[in-house]
Symmetry: C2
Subunit: 141 residues, 2 copies
């Protein structure tokens, strides 16, 4: 089994995508989830930095290519169905384009209230300027 056949044997959806859960290798915090296709997974393995496929823009993006908030890949796992990836990374800066370490900075309380449970660690306007990334870009481009 080489890397190419392993990548080919994963189960992609009708659009050729597979969700990738990104976790902080140090404290195991879930940082974000985004979509890869086979080619972005190849790029992730070959460069050691996470690459994704943007569904909204129809293009590849490396996490951190604008912000510098790259993710160094430490380990890649696949689930029992082979249709979801879990990737442990060293996160530089923050994963979320809103300025939070993790994209999951909001809790839904049982009464429906949405509560922010984390602190911003950077100012998005200082990092991205006026060209705010779209939500799917996370902190990129």
């Amino acid at each position: 089994m080489n890397l190419e056949s392993t990548i080919s044997n994963l189960k992609y959806d009708a659009n050729g995508l597979i969700p990738a859960i990104i976790v902080d290798a140090e404290n195991k915090q879930v940082l974000m989830m985004a979509y890869m296709n086979a080619e972005s997974l190849r790029m992730t393995f070959s460069t050691g930095k996470t690459h994704f496929w943007s569904r909204s823009r129809g293009e590849y993006w490396m996490k951190g290519q604008t912000s510098g908030h790259i993710q160094e890949v430490k380990a890649v796992y696949v689930d029992c169905d082979a249709d979801t990836l879990l990737i442990e990374v060293i996160q530089h800066g923050a994963a979320c384009h809103e300025g939070y370490r993790s994209c999951f900075y909001r809790k839904i309380e049982p009464d429906g209230e949405i509560k922010i449970i984390a602190e911003k660690i950077f100012d998005p306007s200082a990092v991205y300027g006026k060209n705010q990334p779209t939500s799917e870009q996370k902190s990129d481009k």
Copy 2:
């Protein structure tokens, strides 16, 4: 903001689904990922146990309904895009229908080798009998 409007305001895909990453509340390990629709999220909040929508069978399923390996919900988070959920649970037994605590029991090495990195904690045939669940059912039905 009440729970119904919070659930309605989440971003579901074209099939009305939202991915839910399930994490062990105690050690933060990612256990599995499965899909919810608005109704299964309502059921999750109202019962305090995770409920999902099976894409393959077109029906609701409560995690653990056959195996007893239920997930008690401790906290629900939503990401910046409002299109992915992160749910912390107390996992009874194991999350994976293959007998592992987590569905992510296989590591993809840089050379493409797939290595099992966890120990089985139950025998699936003893829990499910001959009616093995399909992969999407995780450890259920």
